[in-house]
């Protein structure tokens, strides 16, 4: 398949361009919102901090939101790309296949049904467990049988599982007299209002996920080509798939623990990037990371203006963006 950009030099330029774009979007994300800050204020806040409200907001609200948005966006995009290769389903993504919903379900089960007083680090493990359980479940369907494409069935299975997970989640919360806000917190993701410390705690796991994805580049390229060829790799194919799955769990689970379930980033971004830069995962994954980060930060910034002065959780915005995209994909496939 021919991508838009073919020449390696052009690809390198594209990556650089994407990085610059990300920085610009992050800058916009720090500056604009309910309050608008000038560049001078930004610099002062960073280098000549004086404890005023503006500086505090920049440092403790905006910058964390932007950094978390970038980290989660990158992770989800990479996880989506990995899932699409792993399951050979162009419609795969952590949200569409129910991985996010599964992680949330496990978290809510632990929160409502046990008396543990836990903090974020415990939460991460629960999220990982949930992500693992649901991805295994859905993968089980994908790699069963012929090896022919069964994207529709997998998508349906993932959606049905997500529906089931979210019914149980809301049921549990209802039983626990949870307020609507608590419910929304877990049903829809948001990068706002999280602390920088949380990001720092989770960063190692996400970084491992990123590193694994990049290192698996060659195996991913082979997996993407053909099942027959892939099978020729023998034992290594199985290990590669396992490692890929592990990376997905780290990335998706970490993202949910940090920001709740955010939909469609993992679906849209790999397609856009594949269209631009092709199927070579050495190029594709970095571009996905940069684009995913940009998309999520931009969506979060836009969310601030949708219902001003209220903020809309970014998960709602990505869903509203992602659905037309999904429909476009479904129509294009023609079958």
């Amino acid at each position: 398949m021919n991508s838009l950009i073919q020449h390696p030099l052009a690809k390198a330029l594209a990556l650089t361009g994407a990085a610059v774009l990300l920085l610009i979007v992050m800058l916009v994300g720090v500056r604009y919102g309910y309050h608008t800050f000038g560049m001078a204020q930004l610099q002062e806040a960073l280098y000549r901090f004086d404890g005023s409200n503006e500086h505090l907001i920049i440092r403790t609200v905006r910058i964390p939101a932007v950094l978390i948005g970038a980290a989660v966006g990158a992770s989800l995009a990479i996880a989506g790309a990995l899932m699409q290769v792993l399951t050979r389903n162009p419609l795969a993504s952590p949200s569409v296949l129910g991985v996010n919903a599964g992680a949330v379900l496990f978290i809510v089960i632990v929160v409502t049904m046990t008396d543990w007083d836990f903090d974020l680090s415990d939460m991460i493990w629960v999220a990982f467990a949930g992500a693992a359980a649901s991805s295994l479940l859905v993968i089980m369907l994908g790699s069963a049988g012929r090896g022919a494409f069964q994207p529709v069935r997998m998508t349906l299975a993932g959606t049905a599982f997500a529906a089931f997970a979210s019914s149980i989640t809301s049921g549990l919360m209802l039983l626990n007299n949870a307020s609507l806000d608590e419910l929304l917190f877990w049903m829809v993701g948001s990068v706002n209002g999280r602390k920088l410390d949380s990001l720092l705690e989770l960063l190692p796991y996400l970084a491992v996920g990123w590193a694994m994805a990049l290192l698996l580049g060659r195996s991913l390229n082979i997996m993407a080509m053909d099942d027959e060829v892939a099978k020729g790799l023998g034992q290594w194919a199985f290990a590669a798939k396992g490692l890929t799955l592990f990376a997905v769990i780290l990335l998706a689970g970490g993202s949910v623990a940090l920001a709740g379930p955010i939909a469609f980033v993992g679906l849209m971004v790999p397609h856009i990037c594949r269209y631009l830069i092709g199927n070579n995962h050495y190029w594709l994954l970095p571009l996905c990371a940069l684009t995913g980060a940009t998309l999520l930060v931009a969506a979060d910034t836009a969310s601030r203006f949708l219902l001003m002065p209220r903020t809309v959780p970014v998960g709602v915005t990505t869903a509203l963006l992602g659905v037309p995209f999904l429909i476009y994909l479904a129509r294009r496939r023609g079958s």
């Binding site: 959606t159 049921g171 829809v188 869903a319 429909i327 994909l329 496939r333």
Partner: protein, 338 residues
């Protein structure tokens, strides 16, 4: 000889149907007999036929019987809607909740309450919900139309629209006032709390006409499941048939969801149970799905009413709770299916 064996098969299938009907009747009686207010069963039966104490009569005729009948009709409609959808989409995992009908009704209901409640009587809520379901179904169909209505495409788009509706519902919930929030949450999970005689009368025409209509499409469905190529070879106008069946399915599901909220999994489970008992012919599957679906809903509602007194938990929680293990079993069993 083969005729004799066919007759045997038909008889045994009829027997199974009858058994299901009896089970349902039993569940109905139990549902009317038991509740927060305990009455001896003799009293309940007397009240059913117009005798007994005034309080028992009111209990049975105004509270328990309407609620049970509404649950029955809703479960039956959802079961049949699911059977129809699984036939049209040739996919064992299709159901009204997944296909966005429930989501569309929910979004419309939340929009109605957010913008209209207070100024418009709450009794228009079902109409709004049905409107939402129909609009969503139409949207899915139109977007899925591309020289034809391929089941694959329709499913994918249905999934997408369903997600969009859910995001929209969340958006509306956020932007609205918080007073109605707890009631909305109950409705969104699926409940027949507060069902009265009015709801029975409103639902009855849909069910009385919709179910027979659905049953009449059985043969079409049998042909459609053979695959598009075979079906058109047999002279079937595929797209129109699909549209017709879908329309009936959406009407049934929409009516159910508009009254009870987005009850999950009945449309998924009932047809499968029916199929495992009675085979693949839709002439059998449709009535069985109705009976099974009705039993599931009546059963779930009973649990919700009786297990956590005096609280009245939404039946949707229990259909999901039953649906979960069932769903896993289904996925496992169907991993070779296509």
């Amino acid at each position: 000889m083969r005729e004799g064996r066919n007759r045997q098969v038909v008889t045994s299938k009829l027997a199974l149907l009858l058994a299901a009907a009896i089970l349902l009747a039993l569940l109905v009686v139990l549902s009317v007999a038991f509740g927060a207010l305990s009455l001896p069963v003799t009293e309940v039966i007397a009240a059913l036929f117009g005798g007994g104490e005034p309080q028992s009569r009111m209990l049975v005729h105004s509270l328990r019987l309407p609620r049970t009948l509404v649950a029955l009709m809703i479960g039956g409609s959802l079961g049949v809607a699911g059977a129809l959808m699984q036939g049209v989409f040739r996919n064992p995992l299709a159901s009204p909740d997944v296909m966005g009908v429930g989501g569309g009704a929910s979004a419309a209901a939340v929009a109605f309450i957010t913008f209209g409640a207070g100024s418009v009587s709450i009794h228009w809520l079902p109409a709004a919900a049905i409107g939402g379901a129909l609009v969503t179904a139409a949207l899915i169909y139109i977007l899925g139309w591309r020289g034809g209505s391929s089941p694959q495409r329709l499913i994918l788009i249905g999934v997408g629209i369903s997600t969009a509706m859910s995001a929209l519902t969340t958006f509306l919930l956020i932007s609205g006032s918080s007073f109605k929030a707890s009631q909305l949450l109950n409705w969104l999970t699926g409940t027949v709390y507060g069902a009265s005689r009015v709801e029975v009368y409103v639902l009855l025409p849909w069910v009385a006409v919709g179910l027979p209509l659905a049953w009449m499409t059985a043969r079409r469905l049998d042909i459609l499941t053979l695959g598009d190529a075979t079906a058109s070879g047999l002279g079937e106008a595929i797209n129109r048939s699909r549209l017709l069946v879908l329309l009936i399915s959406v009407l049934l599901a929409g009516a159910a969801v508009s009254l009870a909220g987005a009850v999950g999994f009945i449309g998924l489970m009932a047809p499968h149970i029916a199929r495992s008992l009675l085979g693949v012919r839709y002439a059998w599957i449709i009535p069985m799905s109705a009976l099974v679906g009705a039993s599931l809903m009546v059963g779930a509602d009973m649990i919700g009413r009786l297990a956590f007194m005096p609280y009245d938990l939404p039946a949707g929680i229990f259909t999901a709770a039953i649906g979960a293990p069932f769903f896993f079993y289904l996925l496992y069993r169907n991993r070779q299916w296509h």
